[in-house]
């Protein structure tokens, strides 16, 4: 393994890079189907490589530890040396498997979904570039290399959200995503500066080792700055606003980038820097509470959205909140477990939603859908499986991972007295069951809202990926279920630091908590069923209006930030720049011109005469000084 790691991890990255180049350079010569095949094959290559790496790594035994893959110095200045280095450890391998595995299924699905699009080469080039960037992010051994992947996935997201750029909404959504992420990235950068100036290195392993020895204030500031970066990428309050709009992108993009992989990068970052975060309880409290607030807030908004993909987008924001709760509850392994199961069932839900769009000619407003269970039998089945997993109904995968997070959140409450994350988490579980039941009923049950449509089930190339994800959405629970021996948690454990101090000895009462969360999920499904049976959709009064308007947060940003900023820009450009600064300059110039009334006839306006005059004057001064 030691010898294999560099070649293996480079091969892992090389596949999608090659796919990007092939699709990007050969472009139209590949025909309609070629780009999809090349793109899918490239990601399959990465998945196979990741499996090989996993096998080789496991063969080393449980004491393998992290394997750094140095690739030489990237750049430096003074004391700063940035090494281009990668890192192979259980965390990286888990992420690489999810990214390439789920990524492969979504690529295959996209062959069918994008069959009618005139630009398949551009699409798959972007998609492969994304997979490359994401794999670089998760295998980075240096925080700045990680940041390269971090920014590059953001660019791919921008390009893919705006893939249909002739639609102004899509172009604007892409821009909004990029700019919002940049706000987080700015904080991320400051965090890197702080870490470098205090640790002296941006190497992930070194930062992890040195973190606990840093002064408390530095640790807290660095952790919070990096977490601010994570709130951008992972769409947490207050930077969540870009993700729902990102649904303007093609649905496979929503499934891959805006549900399964890229948006989890913030969660991954915290796990990756567990040595820093777990040593900083203050930051962890912020992570847990903000995650819980986001989970609850986004779930309530999902109750009253009419665009099926937006329901799923808010659901993703909410589920990411759960993952942050896990991180903040000093249980990164539980958070990673939920990251993996969520990748399965949320990708499944999105692909099912895409299948609905495919069948209904891009109609995605649930008010215009309905009665699709019959014509889209497999899609409906897939959506229900994904929905049950999301709702946390046993034995679906989401049940195990969400329950584990709630258990740890409860333990956090026992240890610190902060039960807020647990309570919000439990409440969110209830709301989640309601909104996904609503979405399923409005879309698939009852009678079609527009009977004229003749929906047709998706082709096998789209159905098979959904089928496999459905299997994973059931079986995925086995990765972390106690009954199955928690293989994923055992595998991850050596890569994640353990909480020391207050939380070490605390054990939440797992049995009663599990019963409670199952009961809550069941109650949520039941309420959703009661409210929305027969495709009824009560507006929920004034509260419903607030939810429909997303708690007015987007409107608030527009009114309080964007409009004043634009106005400020215009004011600076007009009255200040032209009206004051430049006017002063011109005034001085004119004043001087007037002073020389005698030489007014020299003001011919020809630059060459001015040049001559000024040069002559200069020479005169020069000579005067010389001969003085």
């Amino acid at each position: 393994m030691e010898g294999l790691a560099p070649a293996g991890v480079l091969l892992l990255l090389a596949w999608p890079l090659a796919g990007w180049l092939a699709n990007g350079l050969l472009g139209r010569r590949l025909g309609r189907i070629g780009p999809g095949l090349i793109g899918s094959a490239a990601v399959a290559g990465s998945f196979a490589t990741a499996l090989g790496l996993l096998a080789a790594y496991r063969a080393l035994g449980p004491e393998a530890g992290p394997i750094p893959v140095p690739l030489g110095a990237w750049f430096g200045a003074g004391a700063l040396v940035v090494d281009a280095s990668l890192l192979v450890d259980p965390l990286a391998l888990t992420m690489a498997l999810v990214v390439s595995g789920v990524g492969f299924l979504i690529h295959v699905y996209a062959i069918g979904y994008m069959a009618g699009d005139p630009h398949p080469a551009r699409f798959f080039a972007y998609l492969n570039l994304f997979v490359f960037a994401m794999l670089l992010l998760v295998t980075a051994g240096n925080l700045l290399v990680l940041f390269v992947g971090w920014e590059l996935v953001g660019v791919c997201s921008y390009l893919l959200i705006g893939f249909w750029f002739d639609r102004p909404a899509a172009a604007t959504a892409g821009r909004k995503a990029f700019v919002t992420n940049r706000v987080g990235d700015a904080a991320f950068l400051l965090g890197l500066f702080l870490l470098f100036t205090s640790v002296g290195s941006l190497d992930i392993l070194k930062v992890g080792e040195a973190a606990s020895a840093l002064p408390g204030g530095v640790r807290l500031a660095a952790a919070l700055l990096l977490f601010a970066g994570a709130t951008g990428k992972s769409a947490q309050i207050p930077l969540h606003v870009w993700l729902p709009d990102a649904m303007e992108g093609p649905t496979p993009v929503s499934a891959l980038i805006h549900a399964a992989t890229m948006v989890t990068a913030g969660v991954f970052l915290i796990a990756r820097l567990g040595g820093l975060f777990l040593a900083t309880p203050g930051a962890m409290a912020v992570v847990a509470v903000l995650g819980a607030l986001t989970a609850f807030f986004a779930a309530t908004v999902a109750l009253r959205q009419h665009d099926l993909k937006r329901v799923l987008a808010y659901s993703t924001i909410s589920q990411l909140g759960y993952m942050f709760v896990a991180m903040g509850a000093f249980a990164p392994a539980a958070g990673m477990f939920h990251l993996v199961t969520h990748a399965f069932f949320k990708a499944l839900l999105f692909l099912a939603a895409g299948s609905v769009m495919h069948a209904m000619h891009d109609v995605i407003d649930v008010r215009r859908l309905g009665g699709l269970a019959r014509p889209l039998r497999q899609t409906a089945l897939g959506f229900v499986v994904g929905g049950l997993a999301l709702a946390g109904v046993p034995p679906f995968a989401g049940f195990f991972s969400k329950d584990l997070i709630l258990e740890h959140a409860f333990a956090l409450g026992m240890a610190t007295g902060n039960y807020l994350p647990y309570l919000l988490g439990l409440l969110t579980a209830f709301v989640t069951a309601v909104y996904i039941t609503r979405a399923a009923l409005l879309t698939f049950s009852g009678r079609p809202a527009e009977p004229g449509a003749r929906p047709h089930e998706a082709p096998p190339v789209m159905l098979w990926p959904m089928a496999l994800l459905a299997v994973l959405s059931v079986a995925g629970g086995g990765l972390g279920a106690r009954a199955a021996g928690e293989p994923l948690l055992r595998f991850l454990e050596p890569a994640l630091p353990h909480p020391d101090g207050a939380l070490a000895g605390v054990h939440a009462p797992a049995g009663p908590l599990m019963v409670l969360s199952v009961a809550v999920a069941a109650a949520g499904v039941a309420l959703g069923w009661t409210l929305h049976r027969g495709r009824r959709d009560p507006a929920l009064g004034a509260l419903g209006g607030v939810l429909e308007q997303r708690w007015y947060i987007d409107a608030l940003y527009e009114a309080a930030l964007l409009r004043p900023a634009r106005a400020l820009g215009r004011w600076l450009a007009g009255p200040v720049d032209l009206g004051a600064i430049d006017a002063l300059v011109n005034g001085v110039g004119r004043g001087l011109a007037r002073l020389g009334a005698d030489v007014r006839r020299w003001q011919t306006g020809y630059a060459r005469q001015y040049a001559l005059g000024v040069l002559a004057g200069t020479v005169l001064i020069l000579v005067f000084w010389m001969l003085r």
Binding site: A73, W74, F75, G76, A77, G78, A79, L80, R122, L144, F147, V148, E151, L152, V155, Y158, L159, G162, F165, D166, R167, P168, A171, T172, R175, F178, V179, R182, V183, D185, A186, L189, L190, F193, L194, F196, T197, A565, R566, L568, G569, R570, L572, A573, D577, I581, D582, V585, G589, G605, A607, R608, Y610, A611, V614, L615, I621, L622, W625, M626
Partner: protein, 503 residues
């Protein structure tokens, strides 16, 4: 070798002048070949350069006006080497890029461009202050002609403003040079304008402050440092594409180069004292330039203000007065030349087709010009300093250097990272995205192979520097360390040479 490099373009310009009328293509080819020959010479300079030494190299001296102590002295170090390389790349690119847009007075145009190249090379390589000043001012003449003759409708106003504003600001520098000369004569006992000799002069804080202020004013207008920037949008907007490219890529760097070259050598204490002020102005420039850029409706004005913002970063790195800051600034001078030069060429490609610079006159261009769209995207991301492109490493080093001085400097400077994405993506969307609402859709033909060829070196550098900036950083490292050493060494410890016998 340096003398050959400096004057080769001028000799080329004389050759161009000999070409009879009515043969614009011969003129174009000769101009391009001359600039390419200069690039070859510059490559030889880079090859002969010893990166391990922080001092001035390949120095050539000759007597010029010995009685006044004016000498001809040129030399290169890690600070000027990068800029020489930039000049060598940008001029052929700009010349090739303008083949389609400059159709009148091609000969005069080519002569002006080549003359300009000699002047900027001389500015970056002069080691004698009089020689430096001559080149510094000589730059104005061809540039003013480029704006005033081949520019847009308001070209005369822009050309005169450019000329007078930057000239007026430089006059005080000339006075300061002469004062420095006089003080040196007293201390060293010889009449000299030689930079390395003048660096040995000990100046008390007050005099140093005044002299530095005079130099700094000239440099600050050239950069331009806020609030001395208002000549720039007019000059950029009215200049022909190649003029804007050279102006942004090279001329603005004369100002930032001046700070790095002369600050540590001649006025170390004054530079240290002024650093907080420079940083404050730099930060205002970063945010102000970006905010105003966002409000522009004219594509070229938008990029012009983006230069104010980007040059703010360069100034911030200089004001940090540490290795990360200086190295980042030097790298970013090159990067801004590449990225903003390419942005102006992007506008040029569109302007050549539609003859409008208004953002509102475009829309949906990406669908008509997909290859151009990909190119524009790369340039845009480079200007927004995306990792993997050239801009990132420079900005990162600058902000890190600033952070080491004050977390606030970095926290405010990092706003520019956000804002650059705001205005650049805004401009891109206006022009390229949305439904096809461009005013002259039929004229929006795909970018030609010749235009692509002009972009090719810039795109290659965007990725090369982004992925592996070490060849540049390694070459400037020793010179930066030497410059910083002068700042860190207390004044009284600086070696004061014995006065020599007056000649």
């Amino acid at each position: 070798m340096l003398t050959q490099l400096i004057f080769l373009p001028l000799v080329g310009a004389l050759l161009v002048a000999l070409i009879p009328r009515g043969r614009p293509d011969t003129v174009r080819w000769l101009g391009l070949l001359v600039s390419l020959a200069a690039a070859v010479l510059a490559a030889r300079v880079v090859g002969a350069f010893d990166a391990s030494s922080g001092g001035l190299q390949l120095v050539e001296r000759a007597a010029w006006i010995p009685g006044l102590g004016v000498g001809y002295a040129v030399g290169v170090d890690g600070i000027s080497l990068l800029l020489v390389g930039l000049v060598a790349v940008i001029f052929p690119v700009a010349l090739l890029g303008s083949w389609g847009s400059i159709t009148e007075r091609v000969k005069a145009y080519t002569i002006a461009m080549l003359g300009l190249q000699t002047a900027v090379l001389g500015t970056f390589l002069s080691l004698d202050l009089v020689l430096f000043y001559v080149f510094w001012e000589a730059v104005l003449i061809p540039m003013a002609f480029l704006i005033g003759v081949w520019g847009g409708p308001n070209r005369r106003y822009a050309a005169i403003k450019f000329f007078l504003y930057t000239m007026a600001a430089s006059v005080l520098m000339l006075v300061a040079i002469l004062v420095l000369h006089a003080l040196a004569a007293g201390q060293l006992g010889e009449r000299t304008f030689d930079l390395q000799r003048l660096a040995e002069v000990r100046l008390d804080a007050g005099v140093q402050g005044w002299l530095f202020a005079a130099f700094a004013l000239a440099f600050a207008v050239k950069v331009p440092v806020w609030p001395l920037h208002t000549w720039l949008p007019d000059a950029h907007t009215e200049a022909p594409t190649a003029g804007s490219v050279i102006l942004a890529a090279v001329l603005l760097k004369m100002g930032t180069y001046g700070f790095v070259r002369f600050g540590p050598m001649l006025f170390p204490e004054a530079l240290v004292a002024a650093a907080p002020l420079l940083a404050a102005l730099a930060i205002v420039g970063i945010v102000y330039g970006a905010a105003v850029s966002w409000a522009q409706t004219d594509f070229k004005r938008l990029i012009a203000f983006s230069s104010v913002s980007h040059l703010g970063f360069v100034m911030l790195g200089i004001a940090a007065l540490n290795e990360q800051g200086f190295q980042g600034s030097l790298l970013q001078m090159v990067n801004h030349g590449i990225s903003t030069g390419a942005l102006f060429m992007i506008v040029g490609v569109l302007y050549d087709r539609t003859h409008t610079r208004e953002l509102a006159d475009y829309g949906g261009v990406a669908a008509r010009m997909p290859r151009f769209a990909a190119l524009f995207t790369i340039v845009l991301l480079s200007s927004a300093a995306l990792p993997g492109t050239n801009g990132f490493v420079g900005e990162f080093l600058i902000l890190l250097g600033a952070f080491r001085v004050s977390a606030w400097w970095a926290a405010l400077g990092v706003l520019g990272v956000i804002l650059s994405a705001v205005y650049l993506l805004w401009a891109y969307q206006q022009v390229m995205h949305g439904p096809a609402t461009a005013r002259h859709p039929e004229r929006l033909t795909e970018i030609t192979p010749r235009e692509l060829l002009a972009f090719a070196p810039l795109v290659a550098l965007i990725f090369a520097i982004g992925l592996y900036p070490r060849p540049l950083l390694d070459r400037s490292e020793a010179a930066v360390r030497a410059a910083l050493d002068r700042l860190e060494r207390p004044a009284q410890q600086r070696i004061v040479p014995q006065a020599r016998e007056p000649r």
